[in-house]
Structure formats: structure tokens, C-alpha cells
Symmetry: C2
Subunit: 220 residues, 2 copies
């Protein structure tokens, strides 16, 4: 392992494993529905089963894996209904977050959101799908964090985590990337005008587009 990797590597094995598992699920290396063989996975990640199991417990709490006593963990298979349910819950919670955020949005906050958007556009221009997914998330979460409601923001984060595995596919399409940028700009415009209604509407459209694109992917 290079010094650079060592610096990046989290301070505990369970956090390292957690990140690796997220990535594996996100990128589809661990496909939905597959049972998780702890022994094999632990060996592959060069850790013992203890930190692996703690990471799995965390993922269970986030709804990314299921667990049955004495049967083990299993990557969650998101059904179409699940997807719609998650997005509907997101709609409810994110509207709440956006309204609270707009009510107390400072110019400084706005600047950070704009910076995130610049990063999104830079990644899109470079065609870097992974970077774009990260930047997109930062864009939204920065806004949600402005609501000053840590528990609400935490909930929304876990909901995003749940569908991360599928969202990355969304950015594979150039048309989607272009549309995301346009919709973000519209949202930013609403935020600058401190119009909560417009921001909510814009972001709802944004979200609906995403779920509409994702739905076909789940049939396969």
C-alpha cells in the first residue's frame, strides 16, 4: 500500500470495510440479491470477520443489506416499489429540509452550494461519472445541511445511500448529465431569490426525472 493510500485509509478497519462495501454495492460488484460470504469477503479485504460484521450491521441499519440470524447478510434487492417508496419519502423530507434551509440561507451558504455546482459541471465536462455523482451529492447535501436540522439531514443521507447503487447508472447517460446541470441551475436561481416554493418545485422535478430514468433499470 502506498503512503498516499495509507493516508486516505480510514483509522479503523470497519470504516475501511464500510467504504469498500458501499463501493462494491454501488458499482454492482456485489450484485443485489447475492448472499454475503463473510469468510471470503474478509479474506478479500484482508481483514478479519469482526470489522466486516460491524460494517455489515451499519449497512443493515441503512437498509443496504438484510440480515437474518444464523443465515447471514444479503445485498438488498430494490424492487420497483421500494424505489418509488424511497423517492416518495425523500420528497417529503427534502421539501421540509429545503424550506428550512431557504429560511435561513446566508450568502455564504449560497456560495458553498454554487461551488458544489461548479464541481458538478467540471466533472460533467470531464465525463467523470464517479466524480459527478459525488459532486451532485455534495450539491444537495450542502443545501440540506443549511436547514440546521441534523437528524433530518442524516435521514436524507441514508435514503440517498439506499439508492446509490442505482444512481451511478443514471450519470452514465450524457443526456441525463446535461439535464442535471440545467436543473441544478434552476434550483440555484430559486435559492438566490430565496423562493422556497420554486426551489421545492424545481427539485421535485429534478427528482422525478431521476426516478423515471431509474425505473426501467430495475426491471432488469
Amino acid at each position: 500500500m502506498s503512503p498516499d493510500e495509507a493516508r486516505r485509509r480510514p483509522p479503523t478497519a470497519q470504516q475501511f470495510v464500510l467504504g469498500e462495501l458501499r463501493r462494491a454495492i454501488t458499482t454492482g460488484r456485489l450484485r443485489p440479491g447475492t448472499p454475503i460470504r463473510q469468510d471470503a469477503l474478509a479474506e478479500e479485504l484482508q481483514v478479519s470477520r469482526v470489522p466486516l460484521r460491524e460494517a455489515l450491521k451499519t449497512l443493515e441499519g441503512e437498509g443496504l443489506v438484510t440480515y437474518k440470524p444464523h443465515k447471514g447478510y444479503c445485498v438488498v434487492m430494490l424492487s420497483l416499489d421500494d424505489l418509488r417508496e424511497v423517492y416518495r419519502i425523500r420528497e417529503l423530507l427534502e421539501e421540509e429540509a429545503v424550506r428550512a434551509a431557504v429560511a435561513r440561507l446566508t450568502d455564504d451558504d449560497l456560495g458553498r452550494i454554487e461551488a458544489a455546482q461548479e464541481e458538478v459541471e467540471r466533472a460533467a465536462a470531464a465525463g467523470d461519472v464517479a466524480a459527478m455523482a459525488t459532486a451532485n451529492r455534495a450539491f444537495h447535501m450542502t443545501l440540506f445541511d443549511c436547514a440546521g436540522r441534523p437528524r433530518l439531514a442524516r435521514l436524507i443521507r441514508t435514503l440517498w445511500d439506499t439508492t446509490d447503487a442505482y444512481r451511478s447508472m443514471y450519470y452514465g447517460d450524457a443526456g441525463n448529465r446535461e439535464r442535471v446541470i440545467e436543473e441544478h441551475r434552476a434550483a440555484l436561481d430559486a435559492l438566490r431569490r430565496r423562493s422556497a416554493d420554486d426551489a421545492v418545485t424545481t427539485l421535485n422535478v429534478h427528482r422525478d426525472h431521476a426516478v423515471a430514468e431509474l425505473e426501467p433499470l430495475l426491471d432488469a
Copy 2:
């Protein structure tokens, strides 16, 4: 351990510990803010630290304890803001659940909710606070489960878990117990009429009463 206890005891140590920890936090035996000494707790519960740590990971996911690498776990101290935030989120999600539930409520469903209510009243009459808390929870969750939205119901459950520690205090007061029963009856009436609006309104009032009673308790 008696045979009866043995039958009740969960199939894995981590589930047993999970239940014990919840109770300990709920009853205030583990007070908010106290760091959790794994060694001592494990010994007290007669298990090793491994299942204890996995249970703690679950509780962390539910927001009942916090975790810092190399520092350990800590029972969360719910601030007044936290309480309000949790109840506001519950309001949003439970309205959604109730509307979905009413839309598909069968007579059979209604019967189960009524049965839960009978149990609530029975426990209240007996002055059994713990049983009343359990029955009350069953009353609401039975309704939420009727929504046919498993993820939504799961989320609501974890939100309830978060404030369980404080809710039990609520039932210590006889006036509160009486009011809960009245409000449940009003909600049942709305459900029988299949009036989603009335059910939502009634339950919002119900919830607001609870939070109003709980708020003073959090100053101390």
C-alpha cells in the same frame, strides 16, 4: 434462567443485548450522555464484547447512541431541538402513512387496530405503564403497517425508538394515560369513517400533546 425466560430469549446474543440496551436506555438505567464501558456492560449482561458491539452498531444506526472511533459509544443526549426535530419528521412521515393506510384499510385491519386499543385500555386500567407503552406502540404501528409501505413503516419505527427513553415517562401520569385513550378513540372513529383528513388531524393533536408533555422533562 427459567425455562420461560429461555423461551423468550432471542436466538442470538446480540439480539438479546439489543433488547436489554433498549430497555436500559428507555428506563433511564443508562442515562443520556453516559459513555458506554463495553467491558463492564458485557460482563453485566454475561456476554462477550463482540455481540455487545454489534448491538451498539445497530443502536448507532438508529441514533440512540453515538460512536467515535477509538473513543467508543455514548448514549445520546436528546436536546429539546432534537425532540422537536424527531416529532416534526414523524409528523411528515406518519401523515403519509396514515393516508396510505386509510386508502386501503380493510375491516380486518380495523379489527386489529381495535384489538390493540382494547389492550391499551386494559393496561391503562391496570396501571401497567410498561404494558401501556407497548400496547400504544402496537396501536400506531398496526395502523402504519396497513399502509403497505414497509420502508416508511421501518423509518417511523426507528424514529419511535429514538424517543422511547422519554415516552415511558409520559405514561407515568394518569391524566396523560386518560387522554391517550380518548385520542385513540377519536382516531379510531375517523378510521371507521375512512376519513384520512380526520385521522391525520386527530393523530397530529395526539402527537403534539405528547411532545408538549415531554418538553419540560428535557430541561432537567
